[in-house]
């Protein structure tokens, strides 16, 4: 990685300082008249072109944290800033890919689903179509460009969502367990494709998952969260590890599993997927 900055060294958000800063963030929400703390106290940073994984057990609040970063909800404590700005509202600079297949507009074709956000953000129609076509091609969707979402498989739908988010050229791409509803084979294939695309586009990535394997395969660093109300247990560097059969991979996997298991829970999906 080209980035040489270290956490804390850059208080101001300069050229290659941290793109995203999460500082002592806590998130409460009210459900059934009861106040629940989803995120306790979380801090981490994402530098440009980094691929950061938020790994944690189900229900640890990692998706909630991602939604706060996307601007859908405000943290109850602490501060989230992107490129120096905080008090965030939702915006295309933090394009989100969700887990749910219904995130596509059913009334728009694949090409249109990718092109529409570009038009919303002010690009002329022809340019939007052109850019969209490039990302549709990049995600291998060109043959399906004129189809409607309901005619696509789950894997293809997620590809469209990725193409749509990438086409927006986001400052940081937020992905909320995007492969969580896919079968194992499709998931593996999409993980590989995502790695290739991220390498080509140099996009900064914040990726939420509860799968240890996925975290190691996709991430540079893994932010391991504890059980809710979550805090950062440890940030593990996995940038050099890609081959699942390598000893280092097995080693890191064991380490991450150990970190997750400290809550005394079974680690779900942590071994084989």
């Amino acid at each position: 990685m080209e980035t040489v900055s270290t956490p804390g060294a850059q208080a101001t958000s300069g050229g290659d300082g941290p793109l995203l800063r999460v500082e002592h963030v806590g998130i409460d929400y009210v459900t059934g008249g009861r106040r629940v703390t989803a995120v306790g106290d979380v801090s981490f940073e994402v530098r440009p072109r980094e691929k950061i994984i938020l790994l944690g057990p189900s229900g640890c609040g990692k998706s909630t944290l991602l939604k706060a970063i996307a601007g859908f909800l405000q943290p109850s404590a602490g501060r989230i800033s992107v490129a120096g700005r905080d008090r965030l509202r939702p915006g295309p600079d933090r394009a989100v890919v969700f887990q749910e297949f219904d995130q596509l507009f059913p009334w728009r074709t694949v090409a249109d689903n990718v092109a529409y956000p570009l038009r919303v953000t002010g690009r002329p129609r022809a340019e939007a179509a052109q850019v969209a076509a490039r990302f549709v091609e990049m995600t291998g969707l060109t043959p399906a460009a004129d189809r409607y979402p309901h005619q696509l498989s789950g894997g293809m739908k997620q590809r469209v969502a990725i193409a749509r988010a990438l086409a927006l050229d986001p400052t940081i791409l937020l992905m909320d367990e995007p492969f969580g509803s896919l079968d194992a084979q499709t998931r593996t294939r999409l993980q590989r494709e995502l790695n290739e695309i991220v390498a080509r586009t140099h996009v900064t990535l914040l990726f939420v998952t509860h799968s240890i394997q996925e975290a190691i395969l996709l991430g540079d660093r893994v932010v391991v969260l504890s059980h809710s109300p979550s805090s950062v247990r440890e940030i593990v560097d996995v940038s050099a590890i890609a081959d699942p059969d390598a000893e280092a991979f097995v080693h890191v996997r064991r380490k991450l599993r150990g970190l997750l298991a400290r809550d005394g829970e079974e680690v779900e999906g942590g071994v084989d997927d």
Binding site: K67, V96, F98, E100, Q103, F105, P106, V120, P149, H150
Partner: protein
Amino acid sequence: MASTTDVGTTGGTTASGRSATQQVDRRTWGSLPGWLRRVILLAVLLALWQLAATLNETEPASIVGPWPTAQAFVEGWADGDLASSTLTTMRLLGLSMLIGMAVAAVLTTFAQWTRLGQDVLTLLTSILNPLPGIAVLPFAILWFGLSESAIVFVVANAVVWPIAANISTGFRTVPPTLTMVGRNLGLRGVRLVRDVLIPAALPSIITGLKTGWAFGWRTIIAAEIVFGVSGAKGGLGFYINDARTFLNVDAGFAGIVSIAIIGIALESAFGLLERRTVVRWGMKALA
């Protein structure tokens, strides 16, 4: 059509031993092309109608057969009586639909934005939706006089609740993810409603309009029968009642046939709209 036949035969199969004959039955009827089956059923229907007319013993006849009805139908449309009645009915219904849709839009907007609005809408629809629209006609006459306004009020009232209820349901059942995608793009307010919420709620919106139209159609015919403006300005309900008053049974039947045909035509128009939009987009299964 094939699936409906299936349901029929399945319903008839009580013992497994009978399924063989059922299979044969299915092949004889079900293997006919759909249009032919419809034509045969229509012919049977017409024959039964003719039979009813033949067996009718009153003097003069209180049931006329298909042929005199067809003649009266052609005559009524040719001399403009049926056409102008139809026009009147459609004009009033159209106006009522517009008013109904506008009121429904305002109500659902309030329901979408405020909790109070939602409670008010829920209360109003639960009270007024099951109420047959025609029930308020006596009071509409009291408030608006014996005018078209009274009919428009009654029909608009019949139309607004199913539309409002369905649109509101449609908005509330928009997948939250889709709304988040819209907000993620920076969409807010009117643009979010127009570009995301309305298309996402379109199946319910169309269902609402379809139900509203069906309610309105029944109500306006009934209202026109209860009180029609005499002379040239009455609608189809008035036309039927007028035909009955003057014992023109054939003209009355022609009016009923016209109402049925318009009903089928508009129903098909909605069907076409659905096939072109929500069915094509996989948001609604083909009925």
